[in-house]
Symmetry: C2
Subunit: 445 residues, 2 copies
């Protein structure tokens, strides 16, 4: 059954006000789909549906609602009921919801939440955006030295319902320093009386609360982990980041890079839900920058118009287009290589040599084709076509050098390499390629 | 300890030929790091290190080696020993390794592998690239109706070491159709005598062997799954795809899209390991296409050179640059929105209206700035500056329309939307913006 069908049937049940049937239908669905359905409801229907939800899944469903819908529902059910939801949600989901609210409302909502949950939420709200702390959750399974495998398993069974994941257990010393990790798989096959410190792994990986979330994502990917323990500055364990949150991080980071590489300010909201004015504001900065910098190209053409005969000025778009694309090919590979930790600024010389060889192959092929087009299609003289082709070769080599080196330089200077992508590279290459063309044009004039 | 230090110490131990110390050191490391270290070794040292590896982790370490290193090691240890590794590896890892080898070598290697593993591997080798079947593994935990929670747990403990994941169990009927899934968490807290068909979930999600791997990735992300069951065309369960494999899929798909969007043929190999000729071949197709299509722009300029006075021809780079970037902004958002399932071709009208409003805001801002620059910086007449600004406004609107609609059209026609990115959009917009400029230029001439 696809989502449209599901929505039609649930709409009908909601219309009928048949509580029993609706409860039965909900039992067949998972919380993600229920939340997706509730995202389509408004006003009275939204409230009616919320009232039908079994209490034990309402907090879970609430965490999967869209931001707007969460706030709409909050206004419908009032602050006391919202408080209860916040108390029942996993800390990381509660934080995601609260982050968007004004500070005084957060304070009121947290007033009725039990103290431990409130303390956790407050601590989490203070971690900087995109840090490991900001995406972790406090509900992990902790154990202390001395307990046997059998007792650990018994305790685990008791606590399982409240934990975000039970598939990796964390062993802490009395000062709450992490001393080992224990996959549930290994606990299951261990002898009953084995003390857990004998079966745990001490060679675990961990991250700090202030580490970038991309670093955590890299750990999960590299070591195929289900969760990463997060420790504070004193090495005490404070939370875990689970693999499912990492999937979202990897996607968001890729989207951000793609946006930056295409002359857009990165945005976290979905395109279809963003207002036109906001979309325009994300697009204007680069466009304005490029327009202002095109004063340079216009000046060059103005100044050298005497030597730019029609043969030369007609090929400016081709030269600039090829140059811009050659450069953005190289910068794309460098930026993505840096993002995936496949290259680092230390590899600059290696990259430069490789790009040199690539650009000679590519440039030579393009120059030959260019010469053919200029003489055969447009009937330019051999001298003109030769000058244009030579300008083409130089432009490609220069574009690939600039394109591959700027991202590495940005990384070295601790700037974001993705900013050195097409928009900036193209602008730079435009100016350079024009100068090269003018040089060759005036030498044959 | 970072990787450089780790490598130095292991190098020293390998040099010393101290078997005991090396074994001890390896016990402190995980297989990913051991494989990363072995990736740096050559010839005799690689073989020496392999001989030191404990037998029970050698297959695991082998799966994490780079492709080249796997083949190098295979030549060093011979086909019989490689056969043993293939027999011990998880099916999906074995398939990844074998895929790169010639067919007759695969046959020889599989000759010594036990029959079940061989059958599985052969079946897997036949799934098309990028299908769910090609990334799944056959080692999942299956149970049949009638067994109690207690017995299931007992059986699980026995089989745990051989399974890729034990955290979701799959319940099959006698015809091997999947009838339910059971998270280990729920099994742990169930009463001992509960039959598993009473505690399993029947509202599970699954995919088919021929579904695209991106579809599986979307399921994992949307429903926060640890693994997805894969069924064949008759609905019989044949494997699972685990979340850690999905992380790689999401990254690879993002990389592919980024490459396609920047005039590159997508490539699966790391930049730094790819030969210059191969890199050049990935870059030439789009560059050649764009050069050939620039015959159009050159023809237009050639033909209308009379009305393109210096005021107009000098602003061609600015006009094309702004048009190209405006278009690629819109196509980027459309392509990414399609990839993340946030928009679909059905939303075409909604997108068109949104882009219309955005492009009027952006176009108006740019036109005003453009008019200012043309009159104040370059001293063009009001008539010239007005015509250029009007051309600018039309170009932005047209570029955003083309940029947002072509990816949706591609999706509708079941083509890859990422192909409708910067390179193609820019080429189209270049021609259109030139025609617009010529139109305005000749109207004021």
């Amino acid at each position: 059954m696809d989502f449209e069908q599901l929505k039609d049937r649930l709409d009908a049940l909601l219309e009928k006000e048949s509580l029993g049937e609706m409860r039965g239908a909900l039992m067949m669905l998972n919380v993600v789909d229920i939340a997706a359905y509730m995202d389509t409801l408004e006003g009275e229907n939204l409230l009616k549906m919320y009232r039908i939800l079994p209490k034990d899944i309402s907090a879970d469903v609430f965490s999967y609602l869209s931001e707007d819908q969460q706030q709409r529902l909050m206004r419908l059910i009032g602050e006391t009921e919202t408080s209860r939801l916040v108390g029942d949600m996993y800390v990381d989901d509660a934080v995601d919801f609260l982050e968007e609210l004004p500070a005084n409302l957060i304070r009121r909502l947290l007033r009725n939440v039990d103290e431990e949950q409130r303390k956790n939420i407050n601590a989490f709200l203070e971690y900087p955006e995109n840090s490991a702390g900001s995406i972790m959750t406090a509900e992990f399974c902790e154990f202390h030295e001395g307990i046997t495998a059998k007792d650990a398993l018994k305790e685990l069974k008791k606590n399982a319902p409240d934990k975000e994941t039970i598939y990796t257990l964390y062993v802490l010393d009395p000062q709450r320093h992490l001393i080992g990790t224990l996959p549930l798989r290994r606990l299951l096959i261990a002898p009953d009386e084995a003390p857990i410190e004998k079966i745990m792994t001490t060679g675990f990986v961990s991250a700090r609360t202030l580490d970038d979330r991309e670093y955590v994502a890299e750990l999960v990917r590299k070591y195929d982990l289900l969760s990463v323990p997060i420790v504070d500055n004193e090495g005490r364990m404070v939370g875990i980041v689970t693999a499912d949150d990492i999937l979202d991080v990897i996607r968001q980071e890729a989207t951000e890079d793609i946006e930056k590489m295409n002359a857009l300010l990165p945005s976290e909201s979905e395109y279809i839900k963003t207002r036109p004015v906001k979309l325009a504001m994300n697009r204007l900065p680069w466009l304005l920058f490029m327009m202002v910098s095109s004063i340079l190209t216009e000046t060059i053409i103005d100044k050298f118009s005497a030597s730019l005969t029609i043969a030369f000025s007609a090929c400016i778009p081709m030269l600039m287009g090829t140059g811009g694309n050659s450069g953005s090919q190289s910068s794309t590979l460098a930026i993505r290589g840096l993002a995936l930790n496949e290259i680092s600024p230390k590899d600059a010389l290696k990259v430069l040599l490789k790009e040199a060889r690539v650009s000679i192959i590519v440039g030579a092929a393009l120059s030959v084709l260019c010469f053919g087009i200029q003489t055969l299609v447009f009937g330019r003289t051999v001298l003109e076509a030769g000058a244009i082709s030579a300008a083409m070769l130089c432009t490609v080599i220069l574009a690939k050098t600039i394109g591959s080196m700027l991202p590495l330089l940005a990384k070295k200077l601790k700037l974001d390499p993705a900013l050195m992508a097409a928009p900036l590279i193209t602008t730079l290459v435009d100016v350079c390629s024009l100068l090269i063309l003018v040089l060759f044009a005036s030498s044959v004039a």
